[in-house]
Subunit: 320 residues, 2 copies
């Protein structure tokens, strides 16, 4: 098997065009967001829409629930689609829904999204509660069934407590180091250290708000940051989680930010992407830039997919 | 109009017997809990069940949404039933549901129940986040429509932040001072001070866990505590919120405590009530004991209902 290429976070507006771009970019597996603030029933509706897409495009995409499905996708020249939620909204206040959403195919779930959830604090709360009573229960249950804890939009104290409390490695699927670009969404050094020491994964984000200089961030700046993380922590726990939101209307961003929790609506508009990352076809350029930056072929393969593949193989079912 | 007698919190299992006891006890108005962990739809179902009770017992009870309804109840020798939620579960993650539940008749809503909610921390969380981003939005909206903020089961930091952030007086409908009986559900002195200074109300609880010596608490111990609070803070902000859970099966307690947020079920059993408070008929004895303790007739009337009446008259609609 050639090395798989995996993107650990996209929220594309799905279309045949994008699925073809995944193929053109050599992207073998993508973790796709199916819920921000959608509760259980609306998440099921989103999964149902994806079922229609799998039915309509059996030549391009494949519903995936295990790392083995990536191998199948590669053998059949398709892209494996994994599902995740960026908030625990799909489980509402019901611990039993953790196993249910896993049975429905979810493989990642963030414990919070920007704001406080029932499980922990988001990165935009003034106070970070850490894991709540229900949060500790949820971590244990997610560990049991193999639903990956994703702390991309959580506060750093909550992130640290999730790392400490989880019996299995966790993920921050899409964020960058805060000491490269200091915004609440990026990850503090102590958190990164704890994440990597426990076998966790960081997916480097290509979303402009997470990049130094935003859309003006050069690919050389980006790969230099990746190299610094690799030099500091090694290459075993890093991959890509691009946060690509291609073709989404601005209303989707308003929903992500404002949900139903506030009254005033701010103008929300997706910003421009860096010129070197606008679609799945741009992964070839990232591979080339990593090689230019000094990563050897094996490191580049690890970074662009093998690390996520190994993590997924160990994470998507009950612990061995 | 004679002074109204009001109990600011009961979770009785409704029956003709209990409604007759309300009449026998001279109880003109009761705030009844219709949701602990019930979300919007299940709260509507609970309200619908109450509609059937109003239809079946038009001679005993009256659906109430304003203080004026208490006067009507008294004129017609019935008990006015107000509704409230002990958790923000009925509004789920939707700020717009605050006005909707108010339109459906809810007049009190706790911002949390024991655990962390989307709005603030409960009193059994290790960390108290205070008001969250959504919590501050909710306080503003509850102020606007006239849905009373009830902090009975919240943590003390959250209670203080609700008092500070709310433009209108808030309530702690059922709790006692922590310096009398130090459990997380009772209220710290600083919080009580801030509550009373802002025109808020405390309803003294008669639930055994909130009483010094539990069910063995004597009526003299209880009235002595009430007298100490009155001496310290005055009598304007105090009333009764008995937390009477008469005729509820133990399964109700398990639901209240465990909801759907944890897997292990502990044995839950309602404890015995103090011998002097087991039903609505016992309010006469409390009135007599307050007089014996030295409260004059006017103070006793204030404490047993007039204070809550005044608070309700100012709280259940838009601010003047």
């Amino acid at each position: 098997m050639r090395p798989p290429r995996i993107d650990a976070l996209q929220f594309i507006n799905p279309s045949e065009t994008i699925f073809e771009e995944m193929r053109a970019g050599g992207v073998d597996a993508v973790h796709i967001t199916v819920s921000y603030h959608e509760g259980f029933r609306d998440t099921v509706a989103a999964l149902s829409e994806w079922n229609r897409l799998f039915e309509a495009h059996p030549d391009l995409i494949l519903r995936a629930t295990s790392a083995a499905d990536i191998a199948t996708a590669m053998e059949t020249k398709r892209t494996a689609i994994f599902f995740g939620a960026q908030n625990p909204a799909p489980i509402e206040d019901d611990l039993g829904l953790i196993e249910i959403v896993h049975q429905l195919g979810l493989r990642f779930m963030q414990l919070s999204y920007n704001n406080q959830s029932l499980l922990c604090a988001g990165c935009y709360e003034a106070q970070d509660s850490g894991l709540t009573n229900m949060g500790r229960e949820a971590v244990r249950e997610m560990n049991r069934v193999g639903l990956v804890i994703d702390m991309s939009h959580s506060g750093d104290r909550s992130r640290l407590e999730a790392i400490e409390h989880s019996a299995r490695p966790i993920a921050i699927t899409h964020a960058n180091p805060a000491d490269w670009h200091d915004v609440p969404r990026n990850v503090a050094p102590d958190t990164l250290k704890a994440l990597f020491e426990t076998g966790g994964m960081l997916g480097f984000s290509l979303y402009p708000l997470h990049l130094a200089n935003g859309a003006d961030c050069t690919i050389e700046d980006f790969t230099a940051m990746v190299a610094r993380v690799a030099d500091t922590y090694g290459t075993a726990g890093i991959g890509i989680g691009s946060d690509l939101c291609q073709d989404q209307p601005d209303e989707a961003l308003a929903w992500m930010r404002d949900g139903r929790w506030k009254k005033e609506r701010e103008d929300a508009a997706f910003g421009a992407q860096p010129a070197w990352f606008r679609s799945n076809t741009d992964f070839h350029g990232i591979a080339a830039a990593l090689r230019e930056r000094g990563f050897d072929a094996a490191e580049t393969d690890a970074l662009l997919g093998e690390n996520w593949y190994r993590f997924m193989a160990n994470s998507f079912g009950p612990a061995p």
